[in-house]
Symmetry: D2
Subunit: 151 residues, 4 copies
C-alpha cells in the first residue's frame, strides 16, 4: 500500500470513526504531509452564546485540534520507512495532543467553517502545527498552535 493511500485513510479515520467529529459533521477537504484542511457546516447545536448566533469556543478548539492532529498523523506516516498497516496503526495509537493554544479573534459567525493546519516542527517524537479557522467568506475566526506526541 503506498503512502498517499495511507494518508487518505488517516483522514477517513478522523471523519468516520470518531463520534464527536461526526456530530460536528467534519469533512476532509485536503490532506498531505505538509498541509491539512477540513470543513464543517453551521448547526444550531453548536451555539455557545445565548445572545448571539455564534460557535461555542469549545467547538472552535475541537476543529483546530482535529486538523492539527490529522496533519501530525499524515506527517508521521509519510516518514515511515515501512508502510505496512501494522506500523501505521502502532504510530497512530500513540499519537495524541500534548498541549494546545487557541486565540479567539472574531465571533464564530458563518454558514460553513474551514480549519487548516501547517506543520511548523516535524520530529520523530513531537510535531508542532499552526492552525487557522475561517468562515465561508474568508473571515478569520481563530488561530491555534498545537503540540502533538507522535513517537
Amino acid at each position: 500500500m503506498n503512502k498517499e493511500v495511507l494518508i487518505q485513510q488517516v483522514g477517513e479515520v478522523f471523519v468516520n470513526n470518531m463520534p464527536f467529529n461526526q456530530l460536528l459533521k467534519i469533512a476532509v477537504v485536503s490532506l498531505s504531509p505538509e498541509h491539512a484542511k477540513i470543513a464543517f457546516p453551521w448547526q444550531d447545536v453548536l451555539i455557545g452564546n445565548p445572545a448571539q448566533k455564534i460557535l461555542h469556543g469549545g467547538v472552535i478548539s475541537a476543529a483546530l485540534d482535529n486538523v492539527g492532529g490529522m496533519l501530525a498523523a499524515a506527517s508521521v506516516i509519510d516518514k515511515l520507512s515501512d508502510v505496512d498497516i501494522g506500523s501505521v496503526q502502532q504510530k497512530l495509537a500513540t499519537l495524541g495532543t500534548i498541549d494546545m493554544r487557541t486565540d479567539y479573534l472574531r465571533p464564530g459567525k458563518g454558514e460553513k467553517f474551514i480549519a487548516s493546519a501547517t506543520l511548523i516542527r516535524s520530529g520523530n517524537k513531537v510535531c508542532v502545527c499552526r492552525m487557522e479557522l475561517h468562515n465561508e467568506q474568508g473571515v478569520q475566526i481563530a488561530f491555534g498552535t498545537g503540540t502533538y506526541l507522535v513517537g
Copy 2:
C-alpha cells in the same frame, strides 16, 4: 437583587441558554467570585478516539473554557458597584475568551467529569483563570489556562 443571586443566575445562563453546553449536559456544582465547578456525564457521542473509549480533546477544552468563563463572569459581577440587571447584561455581553491553553495529561476516561476553575488574575478589563479536569475517581485528565476579556 443581591450579588449572590445574580451570580447563581450567571451559572444558569451558561447551563440553560447555550445549546452546546446542553449537548454536553453540563451542570453547575458551585459558583462563587473565586471558584467555579461544573460536572458532565460520559456520553458515547463525546468519543474522540476510535480505538479507545475516551473524550475528544475538543470536549475537554470546551469544558475547561466553560468553567473558566463562568468564573470570570461571576468575578466581574461581584465587582460591580451597581447590581441592576442592565449593568450585568452589559458586562456579560462583552465577556469573551481571548486565548486558552489546554494541557492534556491523561486519557479522558470516566463516567463523570468535574471541571473546576480558580481566579489567578482579576482585573477590570482582563481575568485569567486556571482550570482542571478530573474524572469521578479523582484522576486528573487536563489542565487549562484561560484569558478572558471582561471590561
Copy 3:
C-alpha cells in the same frame, strides 16, 4: 506632533530606556501600526546550553515579547484621536504583556537574530500579536503568540 514621529519614539523608548534590552543590544529595524521588526547580535553571554553555542530560551522569549509589545504600543498610539504626549504616556504606562506562548523550533544558532511581529487582534483593551525569530540566514528559530493589555 504627528503619529509617525510618535511611533518612532515608541521604538526608541524600547531600545534606549530599558536596561535589559540594552544588554541584548536590540535595535529597531522597522515599526508601523501593523508590523514591527527588531534585531540583535550574537553575544557569548546569551548562551543557554553548555554543550552547544546556542541562545538561552529566555533570550528568545524576551526578544519575541519585545517585538510584540512594541507593535502593540505602535498600534494603540495609531488609534489615538488625541496625539499629545500626555495621552501617549498614559497609554504606554498601562501597556503590559498578559500572557505569551513561545514555540521553540530549532536551536538558536547564528550571528544576528531578527524578531518580527504581526498584529492578529487589535482592540481598545487587548491586542494579540504573532511573532517569529529568524537568524541572519533566514532559518526560523521560534514562533510566539502574545496577548497585551493596551486599554
Copy 4:
C-alpha cells in the same frame, strides 16, 4: 554514582555552565525528581520598564523556563535504569523546551525572586511542568507552563 548525586549535578550544570544563567545569578534552592526551586537577586540590568523598577518579561520567562527544564532533567535522570555518566549526558543532550506559556500576574518588583516547578506530566518522551515566580515577600508575579522533550 547514585541518582541523588547525579540530580544535584544537573542543578550545578544549569547554574555554572550556562552563561545567561550566571548573568541572572541563579542559585539552586532545592531539586528532586518531583520539585525544583531556584532563586535570583534583583539587578538593575534586569529592568524591563523605563518608568517602573520592575523585571523585564523576558527575565521572568527565562527564570520559569530554567526551573521547569531543571525539573524535567531531574525527573528523566531519576527514571534511568542505568545511571552511568554516559547515559545521563546522552539524555541531557536531547533535552529541550518544546513550548512554554507565561502568564504575567503582577509587576516584577522585589529584592529576591524565587521560581519553583512541579511536574504535571512525566513521560519517556515528554514532560510538562507548571512553574511559579514569587518575590521574597511571597507575592506571586507569574505562572508558567512548559512542555519539554526528554526522550
